[in-house]
Amino acid sequence: MAAAPARAARAPVPPFTAAHEALRAEIRTFVAAELRPRAAEWEADRWFPSSVFGQLAERGWLGLKYGPDADWVADAVLAEELARCGSGGVAAGVGAHTSIATPPVARFGTPEQRERWLAPAIRGEKIGALAITEPDAGSDVASTRTRADRVDGGWLVNGAKTYITNGVRADFYVTAVRTRAEPTHGSLSFLVIERGEGVSASKLEKLGWHASDTAELAFDDVFVPDEHLLGEEGRGFYLIVANFQWERLLMALGAVGAMRAALERAIPRLGGRGQAVRHTVAELATRAEGGAALTHHALRRFLAGGDAVREVTMAKLATQRCNFELQDALLGLLGPDPELERAARDARLGPIGGGTDEIMKEILGRSMGL
């Protein structure tokens, strides 16, 4: 008779390697020791201390995908693990800095610009924010109204931005402005606006993400020098689109991390609750693992350098509503519980931020010629 089927140890699913799993363990330990215990306090404060950026920078985690040893997979690990901190607001603040505000500087910036903003951002000394959305222009970026008028040596910026993560604490804003009058994609440009005269920020009250300083910004005759133009004038739309995929992938990875963490924490509390609860957990775990498999597939496609729009869009669509439903279901099974309530509140942004579920469906439908 043949030998019984051999059982191999579990291997990390590509693109993750043993080295990534080691990094994961390191980040997980840090998050459990330094962030999660303070999540409730920061939630109440409606703020988390900016020293968190310094702590992450010390360990090299704000620059994982930059420089000669750039490793995007490591950044993906960070996104999954930060979701375990128990505060969507903290994860959002760090994510906005590493994966939304700084990528355009890294990709489109001149060496001088990278030295001025990216290098201190990686060191955790300067905090970045991306400022695109306006009170009257959300997913429809062509409607951007913030104006940059040509003046001697630079531009004069006037306008308002909203829903800006890190908006209060940021040292620099990577800002979408209209450098020409006509309302088309071709009149959009990006300026890096430093905090200073004429820039004001006010914190917004939200359903969740309480620890994040999501802000409304006002630019009132802000002078921005020539050398703060990021990329080419009139090419701002491409700059926005260029980072969409990574931003959405990060959201999917964050949801995967949040779902797995929530299940791990909930399961030990759910034994002996009967068959219906067992099946509910099995359903939730199945959807979470489906989301993980799809997201990691999208990540592999993205890393391969080809077009990954369809996979990333699917991953974002599949994981955000799923994460919210999972957190909501666990709250129903185990609540009232402040951490579960926070998780459910925080997860509700997923189907909205980074392009709504409906926008994802539009993109997918159109990709099929519909």
Partner: protein, 394 residues
């Protein structure tokens, strides 16, 4: 990651998963071309008559019945992923019952012989099965024991050098056409899970009775049998694997069966999705193709996302399985998820077709009927949920 240019979407580009290589793609092409040319044209006819046995000999001749078996037994020596490719490409037959008949033969009844069988058993059963000269079936379910395998009553009692088998099996795919059955029996009523034993039983032995062909909701091209075993005498050499290990061996078999079932579900869902997409682009209503309605576009987006999720869950799990892991939890998840979304997708495709979807002519209702079995066969959704939930210790 490309560093500089903005990438333009390439929706038509190939999106091969890392588990597959060029050889798999060639195999995929050759199976598909055979299925489309030689099987699909008969689908409507076989839906009425059940599919003919020559399909086995033809597929044996082409090497498709032994893709993953060693060359010394007439197989192709391919890796585990070749079995997935076969399960996926068979869907182009438009004949779920046929696909099930083949899968039972290649991925359910014969793997235990390959893994647990003696050399004599492999020569006597596996070799002709790979050639398509002998057709196999698998006997687990009984009139009083379905998903609860431990509740089976078919007894095999030792009598000198022989065993005497009594009992009945039902819902047996290939039951009427098969030459032999891999049969799950109880050999020791008091030994619990250690009291089960597998046998290979020739279907022409005295006492083997093929009672009736069962009428079904779908899978009409498949012959599904109720079988009776009355004092069937088999020699000791008919024992497959060790006496008393039958339960564990059949649980192992079920993992492979569920994985293959999940692969078939995803392929079937993709196939009906593709056909429905073409239909929606042609069908006019209110002055435009129905594909131009936003709700239709969103339906396709949601279906595509579900199908891709199921596919990726399958491939990640298959990768674990092929690596030698025994990922029962993930296989159960893959089987549960793929079965469910396949039925949901088929149902939504009927909806998009409207009245046409309800008509036999458009062959969409047939897909739904065929796929509906997957949420029941090889372990119901509810059994999958039990397995998954218990794997977490709750």
């Amino acid at each position: 990651m490309a560093a500089t240019d903005v990438l333009k979407p390439d929706h038509a580009g190939a999106r091969r998963h890392f588990i597959f290589n060029n050889e798999h793609e060639q195999l995929r092409e050759s199976i598909r071309s055979f299925v489309v040319k030689e099987l699909a044209p008969h689908a409507a006819e076989w839906e009425e008559s059940t599919f003919p046995d020559w399909v086995f000999s033809r597929m044996g001749e082409l090497g498709f019945l032994g893709l993953t078996y060693p060359e010394e037994y007439g197989g192709q020596g391919g890796d585990y992923y070749c079995a997935l490719v076969l399960a996926e490409e068979m869907t182009h037959s438009n004949c779920g019952g046929l696909n099930m008949g083949i899968a039972v033969h290649t991925d359910m009844a014969t793997p235990p012989i390959h893994l647990f069988g003696t050399e004599e058993q492999k020569q006597a059963y596996l070799v002709p099965a790979i050639k398509g000269e002998k057709i196999a079936c698998l006997g687990i379910t009984e009139p009083d024991a379905g998903s609860d395998v431990s509740g089976i009553k078919t007894r095999a009692v030792r009598d000198g050098d022989e065993y005497v088998i009594n009992g009945s099996k039902t819902y047996i795919t290939n039951g009427h056409r098969s030459d032999f059955i891999v049969l799950v029996t109880k050999t020791d009523a008091d030994a619990g899970y250690d009291g089960f034993t597998l046998f290979i039983v020739d279907m022409d032995l005295p006492g083997v009775i093929r009672e009736k062909k069962l009428q079904k909701l779908g899978m009409h091209a498949s012959d599904t049998a109720l079988l009776a075993f009355q004092d069937v005498r088999v020699p000791e050499s008919a024992v497959l694997g060790q006496v008393g290990k039958g339960f564990y061996n059949i649980m192992w078999e079920l993992q492979g069966e569920r994985m293959i079932g999940a692969a078939g579900c995803v392929a079937a869902a993709q196939h009906v999705f593709d056909r429905t997409l073409r239909y929606a682009q042609e069908r006019q209503a209110f002055g435009r193709p129905i594909s131009k309605f936003q709700v239709t576009r969103h339906k396709f987006a949601e279906m595509a996302t579900k199908i891709e999720t199921a596919r990726q869950l399958n491939y990640t799990t298959a990768w674990r399985f092929a690596n030698g892991e025994y990922p029962v939890r993930e296989i159960s998840m893959a089987k549960l998820y793929a079965s469910r979304i396949a039925v949901e997708v088929a149902d939504e495709c009927i909806q998009i077709h409207g009245g046409a979807g309800y008509m036999k002519e458009y062959d969409v209702e047939r897909v739904w009927r065929d796929l509906r079995l997957n949420r029941i066969g090889a372990g119901t959704d509810e059994v999958m949920l039990e397995v998954i939930g218990k794997s977490f210790g709750i």
